[in-house]
Subunit: 308 residues, 6 copies
């Protein structure tokens, strides 16, 4: 479903497909758990009030400090480390944990405009107006929310480039302003919408945007254990053994040839498919020697911004 | 209330919510007091005339030197040190001190335009026209003012960038001109409106703008005492003791790891909420060890412009 | 045949002319074979399912990892090394191998727009809409495809320049977005269309584009054997002997004078024609001494980007 | 009075308010006297002819050399040294010395346009047309002028930036052309109008503009005597004695802390008002110790262009 | 004759004026001969087929390699070395050698547009459409051409600037695309039109344009013999002897004072005219001492791009 | 008289005012003489034919070399050295020498446009069309001209900036093209119009423009003798003696303080007027001591482009 071209494929949670994707997130459980708790606390004050009363005997002033924060997360990290995947399925986790309906509104690339002056600003403004309108009545009399929205802005640095850059284009500066206006509006009107900005250039985000973030979650390339867990799942059913997987995890670490490990997406979208295709081309079963041969000719993606 | 989209949420002082915010300004009392006295002296000559007559036996010529100044303050300093907060509530302090109605007109981000050439200039001009018109009759026959306006221009450097920059965009230079025209107009027509420009890049403000300022108030990151006072207030009701607060104030000072202290906003909007959320996630009461653990993983915001 | 000016000379495979061109690709057979297998696997899951069941006794999860990839190839390499030629005739190889109709849609240079803001984006979007519409019904109930499309985007770096460049033009950034939108749309809707991007500046391709590529095939300048094989074919019928060809292959290698070998296109489009013209001008037969003399005054093309 | 938005507050001389302002110019008398004589000589040839006949027995050829000059002054110097003040009241001095009516036409900031291409040029052209038309009949049959105009262009460097700058914006270059056209027109048609350009960046003025100037008057920051004279006048009626003033003049000179003295405007608009406000805030009389305390925390304005 | 403003003064060959200009090309005969043969071979396959059959007993495959080339020459070299002159009269040589009508279409400077975005692209496209249409029927059934066109694009670097330049203007990149589209269209449709690009900045030509060139002819400044031959012809009828000419040729070589020789155009358009004028001014005959005196004060043109 | 706003104050020669200005050119006689002879030779072939027949017994081929040149002069040199003055009165010298009517067409600054894209090109084109039309019938049947035009383009570098500059603005490049088109058209159609370009930045003129110039005349600052001659004339009738003038000429040479001498315009427009004004202000006669005092405080204009 697309709404006015502003958003791409909005999605309602809970749904089973999202649950499958959530389950397949390997090694990110801890991060997801913490973000879900924070998101619910930011959007719906009741659980937090209960906790404060339970442990402190009253609603302590610091609770307001939490509720005054902007319900916005920044997900930062390299290409392919799972930022967008987590952002797309966190709604499922929130929905099941908080027992509310959650809707995902991914900002369409179209909403970034086609380069005409003023267009990006207009589209951004309309996107915020639309989501504000959709959730304007979602908060009940008692302050709890009957449904929640998640506004996902991928590659947010393009919209919220730091105004510290002297040579910034006027149009881009206007875009930052529109974005600030939008998220401030959601906070002030207490619309139960969580905004998530994904970027692989945290440094390029405007300080005024960063400052507003309730959480800045940096995603890293997977560790040895995370790579092993993912490969084990992806290569199930093949002739590759558990000890093979261990050595594949080692082979995809940073080393003398490339100074950075494989990303989640390198493993899932480039390495494993190429292993399968290699076996398929030869008409043989997927096995460890094919996997190693493929690794030797499939380098990991270089970190964004590390190019000459 | 929004007026024509030029201003966001104008506010009438005195009001109780503003008084609460004014009360919660920790460690800024002295600055606020001085600014309030200056603002009243700039906008309403009667108090000053009385004083001069009392202490000098006449209205000394130097009083005119004060009244000839442009009723404009520049608030400079880092992100999160309280500039905007003071600017937003100083009207409350003026209203109660001078016993007049004060209205806050925060210039809308919209009024900065959406990037179209000439748009920013047009909007700025209309904003000044609107406020001039609203207070045109506010000065009584005897020269005292029946009501005062506060025009707040946040992130003013974007509007009043120094024209010393060789590569300045034509549109931006036009913006500086419009701003100068606006504040000069208020002064010449003796409209009782105080203009406050907030910026975190004082050096980037055009010299012609700086020169006009009746006061340039630099805000700093809070001192040990100010951090302690703020934390004490924010963490009231928790298991954190007064001596705990002392050590938290120490832990949030500049040190070997980060060469700058926490800002007000770091403490209020990032540290304390994260402390609360950490306790909440575990279902325990807020205590000192949680607070310390959170500090260790929550660095202060880097000063604006210090990025590589 | 031209469709709406968006594409130049679409071509239906199989056809005999394309077969002739495919046959004349010297030394690129291995690359072509592998790419054909991959293309078919990406566009039509049936063959792969059969293989998995045969060798693993089931459809292993990793097969979905292949099918989830974006059916897009990036062909990178210097000017004149055969990228575009392979891209233009690979449809013939796919058609004969998979026994389906394949259509080539080369994106017209016109579709890059004439410089007007927003035009490139609009044209790109329309091109993707057109090809999506043409192949919307090409996938049968059982998931296999009755016909396939090949969308060829030559000199793709102009459309998909890395957004890492700080000084990127707004219009160009919009172009990258439109391209990403287009290829993501083809993948999500499972339209059986293979997109091929050719570029001689792989580093200049946006990381988000590179990451999506199912295969990045780097084409190199031909080896000694490849140069010899090509020259043998091109100089057939002349007085040049097989041992002459060997020494010509040596003479066209990198050496002290020029640090890079002749490209395929140097040999085919510049060297051999000039040899023929030299003989023709003198009215004599093509022989080895003319060939050597021509080589001595016809340097290879410098690699793209190596200019001062 | 405003004319068509091209000029701000035109003013007729002589008038008593201007005389007061002229009287209050401390330490600039000599400069003003010389400029007045030159202005009258440039605009009205009769006095000069009389002089030549008296001292040389004839009108010497060199008199034409004077009359052929462009009646344009350039006032250069730092922010706050009195350039604009002199330019605004010199009409009063001319009017009383030459016994003619003089009108001041300050070019409006609006006339610099709002950034639209071509707008500045159009407005400048109209401004010159307007003033030419107003004074077209001001010269009598005998060549003497019945009334004079003063066209004041403040911050002229913005309009007449040196075309030596390679990266000059087309629109700005067009502005220089329009300005040259305007002042050349006044000279050729012998319109009795004196043009005064004020700038704090003399080096940035186009050489073709500088070359035309009949006088380039550089204004400096005030000397010890000038500072003392000004402070004496401004602090009259307070408890500050003449010897106090001497030491205040010393305290506002360049020194080890700041390598430049206070400007006129620093003294009048920043220092004295702050001294008054300090006394007022405490409810005490203005005295020497308050003045010294204020100086210690009120640095002089840095020279334009000296910022890092 | 001008066609639609796209071309300036198209010219039909053979004609006697062109023959005279062709005859007056001194020292370029060898280059012209070779280019004429190549041009005919590229545009009309019959002569080449006859030759191949005669010397090889068959039409060897390499002949197709010639015919597949783009009928485009690039003439490179310094200002004034005869590039444009050769390009303008080569049609005469082709017409007399091949016994066909040849038409010259010099691309008008107007066709480069007046700076409006998209204009250059539109005009270029229309120019190619026009010439394609004029020669669409020029190729006979047997593949030979009944008439030929020469499309001359002078100062081609302005149209085909290398896209390697990072900061290239969008409009200029669009121009390169339009040019590539045009010449590719002529080749594919086998329109008998020879395109000649002249440039004095070969390095600035886009690689994709250079690669297509059937010949890149670099023109050099004339040698001693060429200078002598030209001067002998130009100074005929004067008192300058053959041995004088020899020493003049020496005097116009590169030397310690200027590190480059005189160009053809320096000799023809600057030196000889100035010699004549010097004699004429004095009313004497042209002789050797005048010539030497003029050389001593008339330096050769500096090579393009060698300025500081 | 102004024609369509394209030209300012066209002037018909001979006229007495121009003769006076011509007479007053001190020290430039030799340059003017040579330029006049060249101009007549370029515009009217009859005199030259007579000469050639007289001294060589025939019209030697080299005469055509002269007549083939572009009738265009470039006057280069510093601000104030007399370039424009010579260009404005050379028509008078030509008219009296050749006994024809000469008209001066100074290109209006307006014709350079007001910054709108394409405007400069359009205006330039119209200017050339207008002058071509005015003199289209000026050449008689025998090739001699009944009247001549002089097209004066002052500050030509702004129109004909070298395209060697990588960062050249599109609009400016279009201007160079229009200028080349115009002067080539005058030459080809043999319109009897002499184009004179004045510039103080010869290096900034496009090579293609420089190459076309029949003469590039560099004007220098005046020598000691020239300064003395000018001062003698300007200071006639004063108390300054001939030996005084000698020492004033010495005082205005380059020296240790300023490394460049006074320009003609420095002497005429700045020094002498200021000497007169100084005497006038004091009511005394002009004498040597006043002159020296004025020199000591009136530095010469710095050469264009020598600023930091």
């Amino acid at each position: 479903m697309s709404i006015d071209g502003l958003f791409t494929r909005t999605e309602e949670f809970p749904n089973s497909s999202a649950q499958a994707r959530l389950n397949s997130l390997v090694g990110l459980d801890e991060i997801v758990d913490r973000l879900v708790v924070d998101a619910i606390a930011l959007l719906d004050s009741s659980a937090m009030a209960s906790w404060s009363t339970a442990v402190h005997g009253e609603i302590i002033p610091a609770v307001s400090a939490v509720l005054d924060r902007t319900p916005m997360f920044v997900f930062a990290g390299d290409v392919g480390v799972g930022k967008t995947e987590v952002a797309e399925v966190i709604g499922q986790a929130i929905a099941t944990r908080a027992h509310v309906d959650v809707s995902l509104y991914p900002l369409s690339l179209s909403a970034r405009g086609r380069g005409a002056v003023g267009e990006m600003t207009t589209l951004l403004t309309r996107a915020f107006e639309r989501i504000s309108s959709d959730f304007a009545c979602a908060r009940k009399q008692d302050g709890t929310a009957s449904s929640l929205g998640v506004l996902l802005i991928d590659e947010a640095d393009a919209l919220a480039q730091s105004r510290e850059l002297a040579q910034m284009h006027h149009e881009d500066r206007a875009g930052v302003n529109a974005l600030l206006r939008g998220i401030d509006g959601l906070r002030v009107d207490r619309i139960p919408v969580l905004t998530i900005l994904c970027t692989n250039r945290l440094d390029a985000l405007d300080p005024a945007v960063q400052r507003r973030a309730a959480a800045i979650q940096v995603f890293n390339r997977p560790s040895h254990e995370q790579r092993a867990a993912l490969l084990l799942r992806l290569l199930a059913g093949t002739e590759i053994s558990i000890s093979d997987v261990e050595s594949l995890a080692t082979a995809t670490a940073e080393n003398g040839v490339w100074p950075y490990a494989y990303t989640y997406s390198d493993l899932r979208q480039r390495l494993v498919p190429e292993i399968v295709l290699s076996a398929y081309r030869r008409g043989v079963a997927v096995n460890s020697s094919i996997a190693k041969e493929v690794i030797s000719r499939t380098p990991p993606t270089r970190p964004f911004g590390s190019a000459s």
